[in-house]
Amino acid sequence: MSFDLNLILDSLPKMLAGFGVTLQLLVVSGVLGLILAILLLLMRLSGKFYLDWVAQVYIYIFRGTPILVQIFIIYYGLPQFEAIRDSVFWSILREPTGCAILALTLNTGAYVSEILRGGVLGVDKGLLEAGSALGMSARQKFIYITTPLATRLALPAYSNDVISLLKSTALASTITITDMTGIARTIVADTYAPYEVFISLAIVYMIFTFGIQKLFGVFERYLGRYARREE
């Protein structure tokens, strides 16, 4: 079993060409997913049972099914309906990239909204009582007390979810997208050398993951500056 170093050096630049696609999938889905997550969170906190219930069902479905299935339903499944093909969304849904971003967004939105909710529930109730006693309105309490504290509480779990999202982008390769994994798989198909190619790809992802963790570490230290007792 030989380890072809030349092959690695050859294929790395090709795979890194896919880095831009991977990054695009990650950032766009991440941002849209976060917006969706906040929307779902507000629905769950609204106190109106019909909003809460709809959000809960949505979250249940998207957390209870594999993301690969969700991608396939959107990319392969939706074109089955003429209504979709005739609609204004067809230009997005026809493209694999649009479908991948949609699937990743819908999926991460469900997970992140639960993470945010965990943060909100973790805020000390006494602080909200102090806010009430001082005469603050529910909206004021949510903005000035709950949100800053919940964000800090949710950050570690959120960083884990961003890493999960990164790993999920690799699944876009199953619907012909030429992200890093997609390119790697074509190289493997041509060269019959899965070891070298896949291992180097894995290392690229690990470095990417490391980078994301470091970034969030900085974030966490900044947000948590009031929690450290520097004398």
Binding site: P66, Y76, I163, A170, L171, Y205
Partner: protein, 231 residues
């Protein structure tokens, strides 16, 4: 719905495969998780480093990549080994079932390592000290104090690990395992109804998720029967 006639059998068998993968990978995941946690908690720097490497690698690499690597990579390794014994051997195949099961067990096991480690450290030091002060041996402390508290702490995140295992099974269809997603792909070439087929896959996986979630909730309630309701 008539389009599904003739396919119910296949879907059923696909679901059975999912259940089999779940059972096998669950046992392996627990094994890997316990070994990893033990290594991280041990005094051996070497064991800690290896365990850390394990978690970094398998938490930082996309699941699909791990599956592909294990499947193709192990075939290469096994073929090479087999050639030593019998030069006429052309190719040793690794069944997708085992390549996939071991792959997802390794992946989720790396998360389980952290869960078990956290559960071990989460047992109140005061309880341990009290046990020692009462004269209980290390083994007795472990069995009667540590373990009951540990599994109570680990149960919620462990439930999530089980959900991950079930959902990751869909990824193994990529290397040819004939679970439900694989069946769906075949059904589509014949029936031409991708949406219907993939939705059915989604429903089946949602069913598995629901069973797991309800079971965990039941066990949690049982485990907390002595601690809930104190005024």
């Amino acid at each position: 719905m008539e389009v599904l006639t003739g396919w119910w059998d296949d879907y059923l068998w696909g679901a059975v495969i999912v259940a089999k993968v779940f059972a096998a990978s669950l046992l392996l995941m627990i094994l890997f998780g316990l070994i990893g946690a033990a290594a991280k908690l041990s005094d051996s720097r070497v064991a800690q480093k290896i365990a850390n490497g394990y978690t970094v690698i398998f938490r930082g690499t996309p699941e699909i990549l791990v599956i592909l690597l294990l499947y193709f990579g192990s075939a290469i390794v096994l073929t090479a080994i087999a050639k030593v014994f019998d030069p006429d051997v052309r190719f040793v195949d690794v069944p997708p079932f085992w390549a996939g099961t071991i792959a997802i067990a390794l992946i989720v096991g790396s998360y389980a390592t952290e869960t078990f480690r956290g559960a071990f450290l989460g047992v109140k030091p005061g309880s341990i000290e009290a046990a020692r002060a009462l004269g209980m041996s290390n083994l007795q402390t472990f069995i009667y104090i540590r373990i009951p508290e540990m599994w109570r702490i680990a149960l919620p995140p462990f439930g999530n690990h089980m959900l991950s295992l079930v959902k990751d099974t869909a990824l193994i269809s990529i290397i040819g395992l004939n679970e439900t997603l694989f069946v769906a792909k075949q059904a589509i070439t014949v029936t031409g109804k991708p949406f219907t087929m993939y939705i059915l896959v989604g429903i089946i996986y949602l069913g598995f998720s629901t069973i797991i979630t309800l079971s965990v909730m039941g066990i949690e309630r049982f485990g907390n029967r002595t601690t809930v309701g104190a005024r």
